[in-house]
Amino acid sequence: MLDLSRYSCLGAALRDALERWPKEICLIEADRDRENCRLTYRQFKEAALPLARWLQDSEFHPGGRAAITMTNQSKWLISAYAIFYCGGVLVPIDYKLTPAEQLQLLAHSKAEVLIVEYHLWKAIAQSSEFGTLRTKTVLVTEAPANAEVYGAHRWEDSKGKGEAEFFARERHDPACIVYSSGTGGRPKGCVLTHENYLEQCMALTSLYPFWPGVRYLSILPTNHAIDFMVGFIGPFTCGATVVHLRSLRPEYIREAFTKYKITYMSLVPMVLKNLERGLRQRFSELPAGKRRVLNGLIRINRTMTRGRPRVGLSRALLRDVHNAFGGELRALFTGGAFTEPATLQFFYDLGIPVANGYGCTEAGTAITLNDFKPFRADTVGKPLPGMELKIIGPDAEGIGEVAVRSKTVMSHYLDDPEMTAEVLVDGWLMTGDLGRIDPAGHLQLFGRKKNMIVTEEGKNIYPEDIENVFEGIAVKEFCVFAANYLWPRRTMTGEQLVIVVHPEQDHTIDEELRAEIGARNRRLLNYKRISGIVPWERDFPRTAALKIKRNVLAEEIRQTIDSSAVIPL
């Protein structure tokens, strides 16, 4: 791989990668069982540089911000490289956000350029908030011929003439602004520098190396921190191949494994669980004799790999299972949400190690990762090289808030020094997660100190972000909380949101109010919905500026009622 310690910015590292492995395949884009495109590193460069030139001709200057809103596909990476080539700052936006939320982040980031897929752009253009868009240049991909493009330029036609000029950036310059939350309230735009990414990439590839010939299956969208690193920067700076699959359906994922002989793949715990469910189902359908043989082989594999993974041995022992995964799979990566130890153990026993990790947007991609020396299903692994971890205010069991210090920690939150000061204290990032470091140096997580939840799909949901949907309900006041924040449980599973409702005087939480809250709730995306109502009779404590003192209110609630008071929705 390239020696990333020598580079000052992602653009320069990627530029050298494209020169170094011109004939290697860097990208394959598959849609179901069809292959949309296959590009060598040279062809990738030939696709990206005319776009970079077009951006430069459109007054996009070094330090300018350009957003990408796309599903999982090759044009995301081509566009990102063009932006870095111009010295621009990339703003990856989650395509699953609503048009109003996307517009809000575009406004907050002050993105001058937006690169977006047609169906997403159409939804934005048809939304009632479209008039708030200030982004001056919009490039839309895959717009059908003769379709209305609402003032955008067609990505496929945006090719400048002449050579694009390369603009290098310094290590401490911003590379990306990544939103960890704030779509409904106060946007949290993590400003991540080129150094953050270069250091993160070196740390990850020191444990899990890529090389030409490695094929990484990408099913997460590239705006996801894990995929940006493991499905773009990591493989590209090593001459490896990224296979984009534009569908999450199990039947096409299975086909992609065998068709492309996949080496690595990242997935959120929900998809991993689904894979496990499918495999267990297939095992249960085997004739009794074959099942006994399989179980015996799994037991042998478990014994033989107790100390470390032995990929060759596992492939020989459990040939059919490994062949179903293409026969060349070395590891799966997971993170972003809690993964059940039993699931990790299930795959490890089959000879498919799942590298379970822990990280947060503010710290780049990953802070800890399982190194399989030996495999542990009950932790999120050890700190990656270059990461310092400490536990703040540990209790008698050693559990306290996890703090991290490393070159991968973000520079600041965009335009929010107050919030930055809350999380970056004396050079340490306060994660808001509760954990303990065990004698072997592994991190174990035990819930959260902060008021938020993480869904099984790996989505971080902050209560403040969904409150606006309940504005105007007929109550005196209300406030949304993570149930785990009100009544701490030492677990990271089954996290839910609840709404605390203080009814008007002489009113109760009647059927009509419940129906209204239920109807408002359904306006939210399914994973953002609240699960119950907490009735509350006293006035909320407030600041002089009338803001709710959430931590004080939470403490009052905790002291007064328990979770049995929640009325399910």
Binding site: S247, L248, R249, P250
Partner: protein, 80 residues
Amino acid sequence: MSNLQETTEQILTLAAQHFKVPRERLSPDDDFFKKLGINSLQTLDLLTRLENHFQVELPDYELQGVSDFRTLAERIQARL
């Protein structure tokens, strides 16, 4: 070609079969995540079944932001 009401009816029947719930428990405005207790990946399974039935291709993103049968039927109807 089916009209929207027929399409909705067919989706409800297929969903009931696929997730093994009595058809009469499902109605067009139901939140299928909640009513069927399924996650977004399981809805993709249903989408595959609907594609085979209606003989149309429905990209994964067609389910984006959809959580009730009626809206799902509208998305499918638009592609018939």
